[in-house]
Symmetry: C2
Subunit: 601 residues, 2 copies
């Protein structure tokens, strides 16, 4: 039997009881789906997780990809994973029918991706990357590009990638120098180097299709001169033959974790024979890419949450079975030892993990739900869902990534010394987790995005919509027995968030954006904590309503557990915003005024 890595009960709770995804079926776009198909889809996802991904969770880590004779050799089952996910329609599940998909709501697709990532994070990223790349081609590419690439990628025969980063251009994308020169025949010849390209090459696919950001020779400097290209590892000649396209793997990185997926350094056009195919219009590349980037960022939050989930269930299982110590009041050294889950401090550690895992998952699904609603809504509503999604994306990326480090760390702590050893999976979860505050935009970048762009866009419209959403929950919860205290606390927290936000916006006007943004990461943490409190109060509301209906004994325990975890969040986590708010309003421009020489000896 596979180790438990997700709670299907919790997924059902979130999808059906809290977000009521079945109601999406009222819209024509999602009409083909209903509770029965969702159940089938989720069961199938768990089966794939159990049978295909989870059994090689450790193996993919222990035998990481290696560069052999110019090709990256990955775990032998990678090919099977990619093709199985392709053939069964997983890569394109949430695509529109017109794009070869099933029009599965993002919310349900996200739940499935959560299962895959929890089963084996490294193993799950291959298809996600392909889906993102296909999406770009479908949305912005020519018919010719679509005809040549989409089907092979959707079928899991070819791998898709997104190639943005260069050695001198990581967080600062405006500095990319990869260059596309018109070849005089309507195409382009590419030269340049990309680093940290996930699944940038491997022997589990027959071809690799890179979606590459590059600068057309003579394009404007900065972000306004960046274009998007399709650059295959092997290009398709007129006769249908695949011919090497002068894309060379120069390195596969050896990483602390996330070792099952090859992260590569690529060189384009070393021999002057790398053809690149423009996607959409010239110089619009970053705009196109950022439409995918938001999905990718949600995906990072989802991956982090999934890893934390797997670690949490390992810790939960261990603490239930590991006997150690006695109740404090027990004086008899010969009495039996108790399971460590019975110690208050262990329960606290488990509650922390559960709060992070289930709270983050709720937020990810909330964002996916906004995505779905944006798809089917019209007019003002459409804009409302779009703005909410836009505002919350940096939060849904960063909170799970940052807190996931702490959560998997607590999973290790629950195991004591055993947690530090390879005999148990949690040390790998801790290592796999650490990339998530970095890839697809560091926490620093997310903080600037939230405070510098999202908070103030459309004169703060998104922020006001968010406040209204949270207030709606507060007002509902106020009158629910047992949630009075939490409702009041969230109302206070909202006031704190408003005050801090107002203070920082005023600061921008008086002292400029650098001062406003210096502690953007702390603002992001404060915002994330309040957002999480909202998600926990919503879960508690849902659980309270369910408890009234006299559920089964195991459901009672589940719902009570939700109420306890909500209480935990409000008692232990939400109070952290006090210290953050104090710092964010104390106006000591320390990090701006300190000369860097003062770090010297």
């Amino acid at each position: 039997m596979a180790r438990k890595y997700v709670s299907m009960r919790n997924l059902r709770f979130l999808l059906h009881e809290m977000f009521k995804v079945a109601e999406l079926g009222k819209s024509p776009y999602f009409a083909r789906h209903n509770l029965t198909t969702y159940k089938l889809v989720l069961d199938e996802a768990l089966k794939l997780g159990d049978k295909l991904l989870h059994p090689i969770f450790e193996e993919m880590d222990r035998k990481p990809p290696e560069l052999v004779n110019g090709e990256v050799v990955v775990h032998p089952l990678t090919r099977k994973i990619l093709s199985e996910f392709g053939k069964s329609g997983w890569i394109s599940a949430s695509f529109s029918e017109e794009h070869g998909g099933e029009q599965l709501p993002f919310t349900v697709a996200a739940a499935c991706n959560f299962i895959f990532a929890a089963a084996n994070y490294s193993g799950s990223v291959y298809m996600g990357l392909s889906a993102g790349a296909v999406h770009l081609i479908q949305n912005f590419g020519s018919d010719d590009l679509k005809k040549t690439y989409v089907d092979k990628m959707i079928q899991g025969e070819w791998q898709g990638t997104m190639a943005l980063t260069e050695p001198q251009a990581g967080s600062s994308l405006s500095d990319i120098t990869t260059c596309a020169r018109p070849d005089g025949k309507g195409g382009y010849t590419l030269t340049g180097q990309k680093v940290f390209i996930s699944a940038g090459d491997h022997n589990g696919a027959d071809n690799v299709v890179h979606l590459v950001l590059a600068r057309i020779d003579g394009a404007p400097a900065g972000v306004k001169g960046i274009s998007l290209f399709v650059v295959p590892k092997k290009r398709v000649e007129g006769n249908g033959d695949l011919v090497f396209n002068d894309v060379t793997v120069t390195q596969v990185f050896h990483k602390m974790g996330y070792r099952g997926a090859p992260i590569t350094e690529l060189s384009f056009g070393e021999k002057g024979d790398c053809r690149a195919y423009l996607v959409g219009e010239a110089n619009r590349g970053l705009v196109y890419m950022f439409q995918m980037m938001n999905e990718a960022r949600l995906g990072v939050g989802l991956g982090a949450t999934a890893i934390a989930s797997a670690a949490y269930y390992s810790a939960l299982d261990y603490t239930r079975n590991r006997l150690q110590g006695r109740r404090l009041l027990s004086k008899d050294p010969l009495s039996a030892q108790i399971p460590i889950i019975e110690h208050a401090d262990v329960k606290r550690m488990l509650l922390f993990q559960r709060a992070v895992v289930e709270g983050s998952l709720a937020l990810i699904l909330q964002c996916s739900f906004y995505e779905d609603m944006q798809h089917v809504a019209e007019g003002d509503d459409k804009e409302r869902f779009h703005l909410l999604l836009d505002l919350l994306t940096p939060v849904a990326k960063s909170y799970p990534a940052e807190m996931g480090i702490l959560s998997t760390s607590q999973s290790i702590q629950c195991f004591g010394g055993y947690g530090y050893c390879e005999d148990f999976p949690v040390e790998q979860h801790f290592r796999d987790m650490r990339i998530h505050t970095i890839h697809e935009g560091t926490t620093g970048i997310q903080g600037m995005d939230l405070l510098g762009r999202k908070l103030v866009m459309n004169n703060g419209k998104a922020f006001f919509l968010f406040l209204a959403e949270v207030r709606k929950t507060v007002n509902e919860a106020k009158s629910v027995s047992g949630l009075e205290r939490q409702s009041a606390a969230l109302e206070d927290a909202l006031k704190t968030l408003e005050q801090v936000s107002g203070h920082l916006i005023a600061l921008a006007q008086t002292q400029g954006p650098e001062t406003m943004l210096a502690d953007a990461v702390l603002y992001l943490e404060l915002f994330g904590t309040v957002t999480m409190a909202w998600q926990w109060l919503t879960q508690a509301l849902t659980a309270s309503a369910a408890l009234v209906k006299d559920p089964s004994k195991s459901d009672q325990a589940f719902y009570q557990g939700k109420l306890y975890t909500c209480r935990y969040f409000f008692a232990y986590e939400l109070p952290k915003i006090k210290g953050l708010a104090q710092r964010l309003t104390d106006e000591d421009p320390l990090t701006l005024s300190m000369p860097s020489e003062c770090f010297g000896d």
Copy 2:
């Protein structure tokens, strides 16, 4: 040139300017040492770190110990490390002359150990373990034991270990079952199993001498029936021959980090031929061991701080040289990129690391200084220093261990994606760090020790002495220009600490110890944060005094850096106690009342 892993300037600052260790020379016990010998000793330590330990920092990690034909094979230079540290007197440096040592103050010895651990944590633990074991034999063993074992261990020919943990007895030491049966000839025969024994066997030493906790057949249950034994891997026969003593290595653990040191599982007496030699009196084993345990716990705090130091200096170096991005107000995409240390958020991350590293080191040296003062003081003063050391030991163990995880994590973050790769050392530092909240007593155990024992011992005497020490610093700092705000904040923080402590003590009386201790870890965090603020204010006081004396330009930058980091700590870290205090006084006995079934599906 070796990478920088410690700041010698900072060590001089702490030892000479802040703690004024030279003044210890006024006491006859330390009279042989002076500033010159301390300088020589520190320089020699750095040389050993640079030449012997640091060059194999990565190698020891990449080729971890393996069990081969019943013996643990370690890095080939381990033998050289152990003998070099032995022959040059490092293992016994702080021992009394009577015990073959140099009577080096603990404060200076700690500074040297800090250098060694920062150079290569795994490589540095071998001699520390030997020193601890020797210390036990010297303090409590018979002359015969001393004659047989001490010299070889001090010389680095034989390895010493401390063998406490058993599979069923980790945090709950009272449950150990390893059994010593009188052999009828005045000795004992041992049977049992120990796990997680550091340096429990390796081919870098000619013999391994285990200091083993075991139960003499028929001894009382619980901690009152535990005795301490010397159990060598090879025993010395009458003719001086070394004969296998039936100690078998059954496993060497494969760990996430700290991989250069072999952590082993041992089986004693599988063939019924394992002789054990009683140390001191029967049934007093845990008392003896705990005298070493306190040193070992300080050692863990020191090790964690040292790892964080090495990671910090790597990050500092990288951020000074990595060019990425521009000032926010710079609109020209063709202008040169700036070193990332110039970004406010990067500076914040560096200040966090520096605050943790230099604050923790100050606290470790503070504790070592109390140890030295306890040694040379008399009467009330002796007790005062002893109580302060006792109170602060769990704090000095846990704060660096817990915050070290976050600090090394921020070191990785400073590198972006590169920090996640083996090409840079910070990913190893992050892995090496993670053991420290576990070994020598988990953070949970330290929290119970602080709140359940240390706070209330002698009617709170240690706590009151601590408050007085901190108040002394506050009163000094109050009148120093530039430190007014921090003095006031620390005064407030002390009040918070007193209020919370009083509240918890009252809670014990009304609701019992389980309620009082449920959040002991949060209390430990609050206590640690206030303690750190005290250490930072003390450093700022020292730096302020030095700045008045018109120091050199580089010294000015150094002292200014201290003032900035103190400001950082008070602005960003100290405010965290607000949320902790709120939780510790809100009286929702959540983790005690929640049935563990509620974690169920």
